[in-house]
């Protein structure tokens, strides 16, 4: 009789997973990073303009791409600037759409990078119980995956909520966020009102060192994989006569103060390795605005008139490279 009960459990589990996977097959969620099939690529593939592209994560979304593009048009005819950044970009994620990016035949590509891009956002999944002694190598979960990359896994909650949102989208039950807007030359990113607000110093002071440590931790395996993808992206672009430059995203002072020296050293050693292997220029903006009052949070400059210095500097870098 115990066998019957155990078989019942297996049937229930199998059936439940089957229901979910069938559902997931029919209604796969669209992620911000799923840009491969975005119409932007098809629309701009055959345009005659010389394209300057900016790739990267949320740190680059805050750039004023309209201003950069207008300034560029004034100095260089027939040139256009696109900010192709999207939230939670990593080199591994970006690599999925690299063919489409190469097909645009850009003249110059700027890739913005920072510490957490090299740990694949694994910090979001880091367990809180950190032990001082060596961790056990024999871990059954390793039988199932090499590490917990959230972008590799299906997130059932995301699938479910996306389905509900899309199904009820027209009912007014899921209204579009008020004041959300998109810049013309930033096809993969939106702005909400909170991204335009500069945080006050008291709020910025509230930052935990554990949070920063987790966020910037340069895990050897993950870092190696992400750097490998970044190298592959650079190689593919350079093979197509595209000039590539890398810039390090700016960060706020309280965050930078808590970045462990070891992780900093590993991060910059990786950049040096890329620089020497591919002869790419690296612009380090990490502490350029650290003490300025322009921050939305510790890692993102606010999209605000007072924060134009970031966009100005990116524009200057582009001009310098063009000249």
């Amino acid at each position: 009789m115990n066998k019957t009960i155990l078989i019942s459990i297996l049937i229930a589990l199998t059936f439940s997973f089957l229901i979910f996977y069938t559902f997931h097959e029919f209604f796969p969620p669209q992620k911000a990073s799923d840009i491969k099939d975005h119409p932007f690529f098809a629309e701009n593939k055959n345009s005659d303009s010389e394209k300057i592209l900016l790739l990267g994560g949320s740190g680059a979304i805050q750039l004023n791409s309209t201003m950069i593009n207008q300034s560029l048009n004034q100095d260089y005819e027939n040139h256009v600037f696109y900010n192709l950044a999207y939230n939670a970009d990593t080199p591994k994620q970006r690599y999925k759409s690299i063919n489409e990016t190469v097909m645009l035949e850009p003249k110059l590509v700027l890739y913005g990078i920072t510490y957490y891009d090299f740990n694949g956002f694994i910090w979001m999944n880091t367990a809180k119980n950190i032990q001082p002694l060596p961790t056990i190598e024999l871990n059954p979960s390793k039988l199932f995956s090499s590490y917990d990359d959230p972008f590799l896994e299906i997130n059932p909650k995301e699938t479910t909520l996306n389905f509900i949102r899309e199904s009820l989208g027209d009912t007014g039950f899921f209204p579009t966020k008020a004041n959300r807007f998109q810049l013309e030359n930033s096809p993969f990113s939106f702005f909400d009102e909170y991204q335009t607000i500069i945080a006050n110093d008291n709020d910025l002071k509230k930052i935990s060192s554990d949070h920063v440590k987790n966020m910037v931790k340069q895990n050897e395996i993950i870092k190696k994989e992400q750097v490998g993808y970044l190298k592959e992206i650079i190689r593919l672009l350079q093979n197509n006569d595209t000039e590539v430059i890398i810039f390090v995203f700016p960060q706020q002072k309280y965050f930078l103060d808590l970045v462990p020296e070891d992780d900093k050293a590993i991060f910059y050693a990786s950049l040096e390795e890329i620089k020497s292997e591919f002869n790419v220029k690296i612009y380090d903006l990490s502490d350029n605005y650290a003490v300025l009052n322009i921050w939305m949070d510790h890692n993102h400059v606010a999209y605000n008139k007072k924060s134009m210095i970031f966009s100005d500097d990116i524009y200057k870098i582009i001009i310098k490279e063009m000249d």
Binding site: I9, A12, P134, N139, S141
Partner: protein, 490 residues
């Protein structure tokens, strides 16, 4: 090793399989002890040495206490056990908090800081040290004979389903169960050994499913809403703070009682009865009753080993009784962790229960008050009690003093800002829906206390449908970012 992880499911399936296949008492005994240590090793790494230390210390101390006739020697041995266990707990749990308080004082007089030890909190230390300490005190009091073998005691301390977050086992309840199953008597009674029995298996699996449902469906999906509210509550209106507080209460309950359900279910499958840890605490009609329904294994432990010894000889002194209650509740508060918020939590509950007990002793007629006994009176009592309890939960959740004071103020002096309510509800549909669903299910379960038994006695096909509903609900709202159980941190 989290219960809500593939690791645990693989581990548990392995333990059950081996137990079912190899029906040798000696092997099962050693295997269960070894499996428990392995489980703990996965959760705690080399800090397993602390568990072994605690086990060895109390095994030998209790044996010595039992064998000696000298009262003073018994007392000395008991003090060794208390110092050993509480010293371990104090060092690993409270040392850094103590140092940081001294550093704050030193700053005032211009002295240099003492560097923090930055010790990781060993998972489950608050549970197993209380378990071993309770055992030694019982032996000291002559209420319990010591464990018959080290193996027996080791299994009592390390029994894996309840090891890292309780319920706190009592030796008087658990040692007889071990003896019944592993004694060498030739009873020919199959019940008296580790056997996975049909009724236990079905009830245990149903209970575990409920536990997973509470944790993964409710707690994990309400948690982001609570985090969002209390990350920085300054500026939020009362409505948001009230919902955040209720959300946290539900999250905490589902998280912890979910763990307890999984633990009790897993133990039951192996044939062990672990006592109930929760009994519908949100239907308590007074703070004292709340503690008879919430984390029952801890509240009965402190009642037996702290409150009664403090109060037993002073039954007539109201002040002494108040002091004993206050001390007991204060200890419950700091048992949860090293921080001012837990101290505040303990003080609040000390005052709640102390004042309630004082009022009851001053006005004994309240016991038979017809209004309080009426349905309406009970509803009012429940609502008032829960308001006070949820108010105290703020201290548990909000660690920043400025944020805490703001949240408490918004919960006491409720503003009537209603303009933002519709948009707030629209933006938080899922967690609010889950909170309402939880309250409905909780109410139905409260009205039908035999729900669990009824479900586990369903016809097999109906039981499978029930499981499919539970599992599918969990899977569809499973966030691929598992959160650990809140009570692991204690």
């Amino acid at each position: 090793m989290l219960f809500n992880s593939v690791d645990f499911l693989v581990f548990f399936a392995f333990v059950i399989t081996i137990t079912v296949i190899i029906k040798n008492k000696n092997f099962s005994y050693v295997f269960l002890v070894a499996a428990s240590y392995l489980f703990f090793y996965f959760s705690n790494n080399f800090l397993i040495s602390l568990l072994i230390f605690s086990t060895v210390l109390d095994y030998y101390v209790a044996k010595e206490i039992w064998s000696t006739n000298s009262k003073s020697k018994k007392k000395r041995l008991l003090i060794i056990s208390i110092i050993g266990n509480l010293g371990l707990l104090g060092f690993f749990k409270y040392a850094d908090f103590g140092i940081s308080q001294f550093n704050d004082l030193f700053k005032l007089i211009g002295l240099n800081d003492i560097p923090l030890l930055e010790i990781a909190l060993p998972v489950g230390i608050s549970f197993y040290t209380f378990q071993t300490l309770g055992y030694t005190i019982d032996v000291y009091r002559g209420q319990l004979s010591p464990a018959k073998s080290f193996k027996e005691f080791a299994l009592f301390v390390a029994f894996f389903p309840q090891l890292v977050a309780g319920p706190i086992l009592r030796a008087s309840n658990f040692l007889p169960q071990i003896r019944e199953k592993f004694s060498q008597l030739n009873t020919k009674n199959y019940l008296k050994q580790i056997l996975v029995q049909r009724s236990n298996l079905k009830l245990g699996l149903t209970l575990m499913s409920f536990g997973f449902f509470k944790k993964m469906f409710f707690a994990d999906n309400i948690a982001p809403f609570v985090d969002e509210i209390f990350l920085n509550p300054i500026g939020l209106d009362s409505f948001a703070i009230i919902l955040g507080t209720i959300g946290f209460g539900i999250q905490l309950y589902c998280d912890f009682s979910g763990y307890s359900d999984i633990a009790i279910g897993a133990a039951l499958i192996l044939g062990f009865k672990v006592p109930q840890n929760f009994n519908f605490p949100f239907f308590a009609t007074s703070p004292a009753e709340f503690w008879r329904r919430w984390h029952i294994s801890l509240s009965t432990w402190v009642k037996d080993y702290v409150f009664l010894p403090l109060a037993i000889n002073h039954k007539k002194s109201k002040l002494r009784i108040f002091f004993s209650i206050f001390t007991t509740m204060f200890l419950i508060g700091i048992w949860h962790g090293a921080g001012w918020n837990f101290i505040i939590f303990g003080i609040i509950h000390g005052l709640y229960v102390g004042i309630e007990t004082s009022i009851r002793s001053i006005f004994p007629s309240l016991q038979n008050n017809s209004f309080l006994k009426s349905r309406f009176g009970k509803i009012i009592s429940i609502l008032m009690t829960q308001y006070l309890i949820f108010l105290s939960f703020l201290a548990f959740r909000v660690h920043d003093l400025e944020h805490l004071l703001y949240s408490v103020q918004k919960l006491i002096f409720i503003d009537l800002e209603i303009n933002e309510i519709p948009s707030f509800i629209l933006e938080h549909k899922l967690p609010l829906f889950l909170m309402i669903l939880f309250l409905i299910i909780h109410f139905i379960s409260f009205r039908n206390p035999k729900t669990l038994d009824k479900i586990s006695n369903l016809k097999l096909t109906h039981w499978i449908i029930f499981l499919i509903i539970i599992f599918t609900s969990i899977i569809f709202l499973y966030d691929a970012n598992p959160r650990d159980f809140i009570y692991f941190r204690f």
